[in-house]
Symmetry: C2
């Protein structure tokens, strides 16, 4: 099975066989596993390692002193939980697992090896970081200017697209390890309201969600509701075309 990070990078650039091998070797060196709902990196700690998700979902979050929580992003297979790329001194947020997680662990020197080994790999990392910032910006737009229904629709479509690009979607459905409380904390609403919004999306037959699996029955409908414009995902498919005849 191809490492989902390679799949994702393939959306953007075509790596040589050599580069792929090198990357695979480094990514395969140290594999870590986490149970669901574990803290993977703690706010305030010095980031000394970096995880690349192989399987399972994780999330970035912050707590306000009075206990309110905001989930800032979801990390899916293929995503780097950047650890501030080992440049910043302290973690300003925490990262936790939502489901059982398998991840490649990289050290500072691994990162250097990658960056110095190939300018194209370096650029791929750069690209990945920029895309995740772009996703973060769209998240700000959602929470700032979309109402609850639009936000939820937007999130679902975003997740579908991102999971598709790493082969983790089955048609228009995928594993969905979030509780309604997680969902609420990501969307900036209450659990109660998340529940009602969800029900409304169910009753209009846009989705079903059962046994931790989300099925989207009307992708176009959700996109319309959310005013979804996929540009922010920067999913050009040039790389992907090549990888077919490999």
């Amino acid at each position: 099975m191809t490492h989902p990070f390679l799949l994702k990078v393939a959306c953007y650039t075509r790596l040589s066989g050599l580069e792929q091998d090198q990357l695979c070797r480094i990514l395969g060196e140290r594999i870590r596993m986490f149970d669901p709902r574990q803290e993977m990196m703690r706010e305030g700690a010095p980031p000394d390692r970096l995880f690349v998700l192989l399987d399972g979902w994780a999330y970035r979050y912050k707590h306000l002193p009075d206990g309110r929580r905001q989930i800032m992003s979801f990390l899916l297979p293929g995503d780097l939980c950047d650890s501030h790329m080992l440049v910043l001194e302290l973690m300003d947020h925490s990262v936790g697992s939502l489901s059982p997680v398998t991840a490649s662990e990289l050290r500072r020197e691994d990162l250097l090896t990658i960056v110095e080994g190939s300018p194209r790999l370096a650029k791929a990392l750069w690209w990945d970081a920029l895309v995740s910032t772009s996703i973060q910006r769209e998240w700000t737009v959602s929470v700032g200017r979309r109402d609850a229904m639009e936000r939820m629709a937007h999130l679902f479509v975003e997740l579908l697209f991102r999971l598709r690009s790493v082969g983790r979607a089955l048609g228009d459905s995928f594993e969905f390890p979030l509780t309604q409380t997680d969902l609420a904390d990501a969307l900036g609403i209450t659990t109660v309201h998340a529940n009602r919004t969800l029900q409304s999306l169910r009753s209009t037959e846009h989705i079903t969600l059962e046994r931790r699996r989300l099925s989207i029955h009307d992708v176009e409908g959700l996109k319309r509701i959310a005013m979804f414009d996929s540009r922010f995902l920067h999913l050009q498919m040039e790389g992907r075309q090549y990888s077919a005849n490999e």
Copy 2:
């Protein structure tokens, strides 16, 4: 006068005289001016240049199809309006000026010169990008989990800190080119509500705002209201200490 970008980078690392000279030369090569309220980069356009703000304020924003606007970040002197660092294909948001803006314009090759010329400069750029992502995340937290008053307080303190670090604050006050509509679109609230929140902060003597100048009279008070934790700004001051005895 020192370029505010150098000031900002000095918070993080100490550059050699040589590196500073090189950077200054490149930054001084092409200076562009913008009137207030101009579009500096348009969503959907291919980003082929990059601006480093010398003076004035700019902002990133997106419009939803129905006209709602969300401001995603403010760009202050010393900030890169990254142009997606020339790696992404298309701008996924627009950038506009809020006040008269002076900026250094960099081309793709200038960026290469910088990155290849000195690993420390490359790392400084890297650092800057990570910090601005971190600010973006905190923005998501604000909009998601703080109420209007807390958000506004948070924004004001953030701006004070950032402006201080580039020498653009006078005590606890600074130029503030935003209209209440801008403020509202940044905070994810209505203009009407922004007005009322502002008045409340005025009546409690936390701030005054007149003739486009914001004075904060009770920084600690605002921080308390906002539950402001400066960690997300990553303003270590190591570099700064040195630069005194230069």
